[in-house]
């Protein structure tokens, strides 16, 4: 048997600069999102340094870390929203640029001007812009699809509202509906539960669990340590570098959290978490 790829460029196995991880030759194709050696910096200071990560398909994953640990930055760099200094990104085994249509992004709510002249249904239809193109008409099937996505997050009655009239939780749901309209396979969410009411949190988690049940992958930047065990299957702990990664039951431990948060995680805080298997 002749191998076609012997001579050209045998990818060397590179030890990561932090010495803790061996970088795989190729991106694992079974992962929904795989990052290798990802470094992102603002000026000369790396916000994310040489991070390897592999978020499984058909699972809900949380990115966890203290403020300024690079959680949102990691997500944005994985999407190409901000430039990478180094590293590569694979989505379902394909390079990012090829697989972009399979990703939907839910940015932080605070990142936009909510006084913008647009209505709830207009925002949801933004998720369809790639599909309809520049001149395609947004009517019939497409409009029905946007309304359906709005109904899935329980916001059907608000279609005609200007977005500034919504509460924070409602705004977050509209953003989720816009991502749903993209009908993607991988959903990346930046702090979807930040500053939302309990009903919205419930509604969002129900939608996400349904996505997972339909074979989609969900990756969310998450800040509430108390709900990690309830909501997520897989966890990625980051503080500029990768600290730990794996299934929640074995990875989300007291030691790992201590390593992630350092002194910033008070002992009382850890007690509240009641982490099984910790210490």
């Amino acid at each position: 048997m002749v191998s076609a790829q012997t001579t050209s460029t045998p990818p060397p196995t590179i030890a990561a600069k932090d010495g803790r991880a061996l970088r795989p030759d190729t991106a694992p194709s079974d992962a929904a999102l795989a990052l290798r050696g990802l470094t992102v910096s603002y000026g000369q200071k790396p916000a994310v340094f040489s991070v390897d990560a592999s978020f499984p398909a058909n699972a809900m994953s949380a990115i966890i870390g203290p403020n300024g640990a690079g959680k949102s930055t990691l997500l944005k760099a994985a999407l190409g929203v901000i430039p990478r200094v180094s590293g590569d990104v694979h989505v379902f085994g394909q390079p990012l640029e090829i697989a972009r249509d399979r990703i939907a992004y839910v940015p932080q709510r605070a990142s936009v001007d909510w006084d913008f002249p647009t209505t709830v249904i207009d925002v949801v239809q933004m998720g369809l812009y790639r599909k309809v193109g520049l001149l395609g008409r947004l009517s019939g099937d497409m409009a029905a699809r946007a309304r359906d996505c709005l109904a899935r997050v329980g916001m059907a009655d608000f279609a005609g509202r200007q977005i500034g009239q919504l509460s924070g939780g409602q705004q977050q749901r509209v953003f989720l509906a816009r991502a749903l309209a993209q009908d993607a396979d991988l959903y990346l969410l930046d702090e979807p539960f930040a500053g939302v009411d309990a009903a919205t949190e419930r509604a969002i988690i129900d939608v996400l669990k349904l996505l997972k049940a339909n074979g989609k992958a969900v990756v969310a930047v998450h800040h509430d340590l108390a709900t990690v065990r309830d909501y997520f299957d897989h966890v990625f702990l980051i503080n500029v570098r990768r600290i730990a990664e794996g299934p929640v039951p074995t990875t989300f431990t007291t030691e790992a959290l201590q390593a992630t948060y350092g002194g910033r995680l008070a002992a009382t805080h850890l007690d509240e978490l009641a982490i099984a298997g910790g210490a």
């Binding site: 002249p117 647009t118 990346l188």
Partner: protein, 404 residues
């Protein structure tokens, strides 16, 4: 007055007619393409771009004279202005992206330097033998004196293209203006879309140079968009409303300036635009100042009424004159502050609703509904009749309000 009507009816002569049609077309194009400039919050970039046209006009004149042609050839001058305006735009973009300077600093630097350079060229041209009657100063504030059919045709073609391009690109431009991170995540090239948007603005600036001049063109780009924002909550409609406002502005302004000798067209157009803007600012149905004042007054009345009724129920004296006036006007209290029968009934209902809310907070802790309590929202708007009946069952029989 008669002259103004003549101008509006295109009866004020060939030149005035050309100017009115040209100004209306330019106004429409500027309003439509300025919409996204405003939504992207980059209004002042267009001011720098407009000022950066001046050196191009000067260079084009010199080059055309040097080549033995007529320096005043309009397409040639406009082509030159477009080149330096584009250089100015790219410079602003480059400075903002590659240095730590913010966009406002880049705008200030480019605007000043390019305008200064342009004035130097104009001064040199003044001293050239061919430059005596060049009339290039007209590009500063616009001039309508020598408006030709050719000029109107340039505006018509360029303006139509700008409006069509704005409409075709409305979705990407909306996305970038509203949520550029999301646009980038979807695979749109945000930088290219921004350049496209500014390119449209540049095109409108260039075709409007002769008529309104480079100093005031920014007003034609921005004021119609800002005005349109008062009348709609949807960005795609803003394009047409801003276009209509801009078109009407140009037409009326040109008519006004033709109605009396020595009224400058460009500045009059801008003043007409300002008048429409002020009208919208005051009278727009939801976002206008008047609507806001009325809304606030109604809200205040609701607060005072509710507080007054709660005070009646608790048998506290009402000291605030406004509250007393409000309640007595409704016949709920007498002039001396003593509640009437209907006042006591209303107060009893208010107190009962407060108790219902207390129960709702206990029962509905998790639902976010009880969180809608703000002291004013009627409980019937939040809970169904069945739920309220359930609250009442838990409350037990009604008690006499203020019963001693």
């Amino acid at each position: 007055m008669q002259q103004f009507l003549d101008a509006l009816l295109l009866q004020a002569g060939y030149n005035a007619t050309l100017v009115a049609i040209g100004a209306a077309l330019l106004g429409f194009a500027a309003g439509a393409s300025g919409t996204f400039l405003f939504l992207r919050k980059r209004a002042l970039v267009s001011d720098a771009v407009a000022h950066a046209t001046l050196p191009g006009v000067g260079i084009a004149f010199i080059v055309m004279v040097w080549l033995g042609g007529d320096g005043r050839n309009l397409p040639g001058l406009l082509a030159g202005s477009a080149v330096t305006a584009w250089i100015g735009l790219v410079l602003i973009e480059w400075i903002t992206r590659r240095t730590r300077l913010a966009e406002d600093a880049a705008i200030g630097a480019v605007l000043g330097v390019f305008f200064g350079l342009g004035i130097v060229f104009l001064t040199i041209i003044q001293s050239m033998s061919a430059g005596r009657q060049a009339g290039l100063e007209g590009f500063l504030l616009g001039s309508t004196a020598g408006m030709l059919l050719e000029d109107a045709v340039i505006i018509a073609i360029g303006g139509t293209l700008a409006v069509v391009a704005t409409w075709v690109m409305r979705r990407p431009m909306t996305l970038v203006a509203f949520d550029s991170d999301y646009a980038a995540a979807m695979g749109y090239d945000v930088r290219r879309i921004d350049l496209w948007m500014m390119g449209l603005v540049l095109a409108v600036t260039v075709i409007g140079l002769k008529l309104v001049g480079l100093i005031l063109i920014v007003a034609m780009l921005i004021i119609p968009a800002v005005t349109a924002r008062f009348w709609t909550d949807r960005s795609h409609r803003m394009i047409w409303i801003a276009g209509a406002v801009g078109g009407a502005t140009g037409y009326l302004g040109a008519g006004l300036s033709a109605s009396a000798p020595d009224l400058p067209t460009g500045p009059i157009i801008v003043l007409v635009a300002a008048a429409i803007f002020v009208f919208s600012l005051v009278f727009a149905p939801v976002r206008g100042v008047l609507a806001a004042v009325i809304r606030r007054g109604r809200f205040q009345a609701r607060v005072h009424r509710r507080q007054g009724l709660l005070a009646l129920a608790a048998r506290h004296p009402i000291r605030e004159p406004y509250t007393l006036r409000l309640l007595s006007r409704e016949g709920l209290v007498r002039q001396d502050g003593v509640p009437t029968a209907s006042g006591r009934a209303e107060a009893a209902k208010v107190v009962r609703d407060e108790r219902r809310w207390d129960v709702a907070r206990e029962v509905h802790q998790d639902a976010g509904l009880a969180g809608r309590y703000d002291g004013l929202t009627p409980i019937e708007e939040v809970f169904t009749a069945d739920e309220i009946a359930e609250f009442d069952r838990r409350l037990g029989p009604p008690t006499v309000v203020g019963g001693a």
